[in-house]
C-alpha cells in the first residue's frame, strides 16, 4: 500500500513564489520537478522507526522575514548564541528567510562567499547550480523531494582555492512562527586545498507543532578540509528531519560534529561519500534523549576512493521514555582498496522505559580493506555506582559522574572550545531536569 504524500503547496503557488522572489528559471523548474516527485515518492524507510506516524506534515507556508537593521535587534531566544558576534561571520535565519548576514571583510577580500542561499542563486547562480541537490537527491524520498521544492533561506558558503580560514563561520537558524515554513538548505563548497570550519545552531521558540525539514550538502575539494559542526536544540513541538551529506574528493577531509539536543522527534542521517583517493571522514555524534522522544540517528561512510579512512562515533544517553535507534553504516565499494572503516555506537539508558538500539552495519565489496565496529547498549553499571559511593560520593553524584563520563571521551575530542562548552551545558540542561 502506498500512502499519498500530502503536498503542502500546489504547483501554481510554488511557481508564483519562485517568480516573486526573483529566482532564476532553472531553480523554479527544479522546485516544480521536485514537487512532482514528492507526490510520487514515499517517506524514507527508517530502521525500526515508523516515521509515517510522526508529525511530518506541519510545513506551514512561506512567510517573508524582516531583515534586522542591526544585530542587537535579534530575537531574545538566540541572543546567547550570537553574543560577541558583531565582528564575526554570521548568518541568521528566522523561519522562512535569512534576516542577518555578515561576512568578515578580510574573508570577503579573499573571495569567500557567505550568504543566504536565496541570494546566492541570484548572484552566484552557476556555482550554486553546479552543486545544489547533487549530494542529497530530490528523488530519494518524499521528504528530500519536498525539501528541494520548498527550501528557503539557507546558507551558501564558498571557500576559494588555497584559502585557509581559522575562525569558524557561524549560522543560527530559528523557528518561532509555526505558520511559517522552516526549510533551510545549507550548501558548503570548499575548493581545492582550502580549509574552513562552519558551526550552526538550530533553535525553536514556539509552542505549536512544527517541522524542520533540513538538508546539508558539503562538497570538499581535492586536499580541502571542512569541519562541520551542528547543534540542534529544537523544542518538543518541532519534528526535525535532517539529511547531511558530504562528497569528498582526493585527499580531502570532512569532519562532522553533531550535537543532537532536540526535545522533539528527530531523524537525522549524516553521510560522507569518500569519492577521491586518500579522502577521509570523521564523524562524532553526541545525543541526549528525554521525555517521550522518538529518535533515529544514522551515520554513514561510503568508500569509493582508495586509501580512505573513516571513523564514526555516536554516543547517546536516553532518559525518561525516550527511544532511540542508532545506525552506523560503513559501505566499502569494490575498488576502494586499503579503505579503513571504523564505527562505534554506544547507548546509555537511564530509566527502565528508555530504549536504545544500536545497529552497526558493514557492507564490504572489496577484499583489501580493514573495518571494525563496536556497539553497546546498557544501563548505568551498579558496580561503578557502588565503587564511587564507597568513596563517599552520593548516589546522585555518582550517577551524574558516570553519565557525563560516558559522553566525555567524545566531547573532550571536540576541537572547538566554545562548542565543547556549549554542548556540555546543553547536556547538563537536558539531563538536569
Amino acid at each position: 500500500m502506498t500512502t499519498q504524500t500530502i503536498l503542502p503547496v500546489d504547483a501554481q503557488r510554488l511557481s508564483e513564489l519562485s517568480q516573486s522572489s526573483g529566482e532564476p528559471g532553472w531553480l523554479k523548474d527544479s522546485r516544480l520537478q521536485a514537487l512532482e516527485l514528492a507526490a510520487e515518492l514515499e517517506l524514507p524507510k527508517l530502521e525500526k522507526t515508523r516515521i509515517d506516524r510522526w508529525n511530518v506534515n506541519n510545513y506551514g507556508g512561506y512567510k517573508a522575514s524582516k531583515p534586522l537593521a542591526q544585530l542587537s535587534e535579534a530575537p531574545a531566544s538566540i541572543t546567547a548564541l550570537i553574543k560577541d558576534q558583531e565582528e564575526g561571520s554570521l548568518i541568521i535565519q528566522q523561519n522562512s528567510g535569512v534576516i542577518y548576514t555578515r561576512l568578515a571583510p578580510e574573508l570577503a577580500a579573499q573571495g569567500v562567499i557567505f550568504t543566504d542561499l536565496q541570494t546566492a542563486v541570484k548572484e552566484h547562480g552557476e556555482l550554486v547550480q553546479r552543486y545544489l541537490h547533487k549530494a542529497v537527491l530530490p528523488n530519494e524520498h518524499s521528504i528530500a523531494a519536498l525539501h528541494a521544492a520548498l527550501w528557503n533561506g539557507g546558507v551558501f558558503l564558498y571557500v576559494p582555492k588555497n584559502v585557509v580560514i581559522e575562525t569558524p563561520l557561524q549560522a543560527v537558524l530559528l523557528t518561532d512562527d509555526a505558520e511559517a515554513a522552516f526549510v533551510p538548505h545549507i550548501l558548503v563548497v570548499a575548493d581545492t586545498n582550502s580549509s574552513v570550519t562552519y558551526v550552526d545552531n538550530y533553535v525553536s521558540d514556539k509552542a505549536e507543532a512544527g517541522l524542520h525539514n533540513g538538508a546539508v550538502e558539503v562538497f570538499v575539494g581535492a586536499g580541502a578540509k571542512v569541519r562541520y559542526a551542528t547543534v540542534h536544540q529544537l523544542g518538543v513541538d518541532t519534528t526535525d528531519v535532517t539529511y547531511r551529506r558530504a562528497v569528498v574528493e582526493n585527499d580531502g577531509t570532512i569532519e562532522w560534529i553533531v550535537g543532537e539536543m532536540n526535545y522533539g522527534d528527530t531523524a537525522s542521517d549524516t553521510k560522507s561519500v569518500l569519492k577521491g583517493n586518500g579522502s577521509s571522514s570523521d564523524a562524532k555524534v553526541i545525543a541526549v534523549g528525554s521525555g517521550s522522544q522518538k529518535l533515529n540517528y544514522t551515520t554513514q561512510a561510503q568508500h569509493f576512493g582508495k586509501n580512505t579512512p573513516s571513523d564514526m562515533i555516536t554516543r547517546a544517553v536516553m532518559r525518561d521514555a525516550a527511544s532511540s535507534i542508532i545506525n552506523g553504516i560503513t559501505k566499502i565499494e569494490k575498488g576502494a582498496t586499503r579503505a579503513d572503516g571504523q564505527q562505534t555506537e554506544k547507548v546509555l539508558m537511564l530509566s527502565p522505559k528508555a530504549r536504545g538500539d544500536a545497529n552497526p552495519i558493514l557492507l564490504i565489496d572489496e577484499d583489501d580493506v580493514t573495518a571494525g565496529h563496536a556497539a553497546s547498549v546498557g544501563q548505568v553499571n551498579y558496580e561503578q555506582v557502588y565503587y564511587l559511593m564507597s568513596r563517599g560520593i552520593s548516589r546522585h553524584d555518582a550517577e551524574t559522574l558516570i553519565i557525563y563520563g560516558f559522553l566525555a571521551p567524545v566531547v573532550s575530542q571536540i576541537p572547538l572550545e566554545g562548542l565543547r562548552n556549549q554542548l556540555q551545558s546543553l547536556v547538563e540542561r537536558k539531563l538536569g531536569q
Binding site: M389, R391, I393, S394, Y404
Partner: protein, 260 residues
C-alpha cells in the same frame, strides 16, 4: 577519638545463600588486624558486606563505628562515617578522571561552599602519588581504565591516603603485586598508621604481613572466624599451612557451605 570498631553477629547472604555465619570482631584505633584463610571461606564477603555491596544482603548483626551502626547506612554514608575499603577488583570508569573522582570524594565530606581548592587538591594528590611512585599522568587518566593490576592497587592506596579514613579494610591488596610494588603499597599503608586509625588486612598469604605487621591475626573458615591469635599465628600458618587448624577444629572442608 580513637576509632573503636565492633562487629557482632554479622551474617550475610548472596542470592539467598548464607556466606557469613556470625562474625564477631573488635578493633581499637591504632590496631592492625589480619584476616587470613584459604579461598572461599568468606573473607572478601566480609569486606564487601561491611562496605555495603548491593549483591550482599546482611541478615543479622551490627558493625558499630564510634557508636554508629554502619550497617544501617547507605554505602556513601558508611564511607563518610570513616570506612574505607581498598577493593580487590576496583571498577573502571571511562570518562571520569582520577582527579575529578577524588575531588568529588573529598568534597562529599565537606560542606557546600568549603570545597577543597583545586590547587591545594592537586598539590596534595601529587605529593601522595610521589610517595606511591605513581606517574603524575594518572591524575588525568580515566578512573582505573587501562590500569595494570598493580596500578589499580596503588590507586586504591592513593585514595585511602587522600580520604583519611578511620577504618581501612584492605581486601587482597597484595594479589597481583610484585615484590617492589608490594613494598611501596605497604609503605603507603604504614605511613597511615596512627592511634586514630584501625586496619583490617585481608590476605591469604603471609607475605604481606612481613611488611604490614599485624597486632592480631584471625583465621576464617566456613564463614566464621575460627581462630584468633597474635602475629605468631600468621607465621605458623605460613610455615605449616591451614591443615593443622582444620584438624584441631575438626573441619574437613573449610569453604563456606560446609558445616563442621
Amino acid at each position: 577519638m580513637a576509632a573503636d570498631f565492633v562487629i557482632e553477629g554479622l551474617k550475610a547472604t548472596i542470592e539467598g545463600k548464607e556466606i557469613l555465619k556470625g562474625i564477631n570482631l573488635q578493633m581499637k584505633g591504632g590496631e592492625i588486624h589480619a584476616i587470613m584463610g584459604p579461598n572461599g571461606t568468606g573473607k572478601s564477603t566480609l569486606a564487601s558486606a561491611l562496605m555495603g555491596h548491593p549483591k550482599y544482603e546482611v541478615t543479622a548483626g551490627t558493625a558499630v563505628l564510634e557508636g554508629e551502626d554502619l550497617l544501617e547506612m547507605a554505602v556513601d554514608e558508611r564511607a563518610r562515617a570513616g570506612l574505607f575499603l581498598a577493593m580487590q577488583y576496583p571498577s573502571e570508569i571511562s570518562g571520569v578522571t582520577n582527579s575529578d573522582f577524588l575531588r568529588s570524594a573529598i568534597n562529599s565530606r565537606r560542606e557546600e561552599g568549603s570545597e577543597i581548592s583545586l590547587i591545594r587538591f592537586i598539590r596534595q594528590m601529587e605529593a601522595k602519588m610521589k610517595e606511591l611512585e605513581m606517574n603524575p599522568e594518572f591524575l588525568h587518566r580515566y578512573l582505573n581504565e587501562g590500569f595494570s593490576g598493580g596500578e589499580k592497587k596503588r590507586n586504591e592506596i592513593l585514595q585511602m591516603m587522600m580520604l583519611d579514613p578511620k577504618i581501612v579494610i584492605l581486601d587482597e591488596i597484595d594479589s597481583g603485586l610484585d615484590i617492589d610494588a608490594l613494598k611501596i603499597v605497604a609503605e603507603g599503608v604504614n605511613s597511615m598508621r596512627s592511634p586514630e586509625r584501625g586496619f583490617l588486612v585481608i590476605t591469604h598469604y603471609q607475605r604481606l604481613l612481613n611488611y604490614i605487621k599485624p597486632d592480631f591475626v584471625h583465621v576464617m573458615m566456613q564463614g566464621r572466624i575460627v581462630k584468633s591469635g597474635g602475629p605468631e599465628l600468621a607465621e605458623r600458618l605460613e610455615a605449616e599451612g591451614y591443615e593443622w587448624v582444620k584438624e584441631e577444629l575438626g573441619i574437613e572442608d573449610e569453604t563456606v557451605g560446609q558445616e563442621a
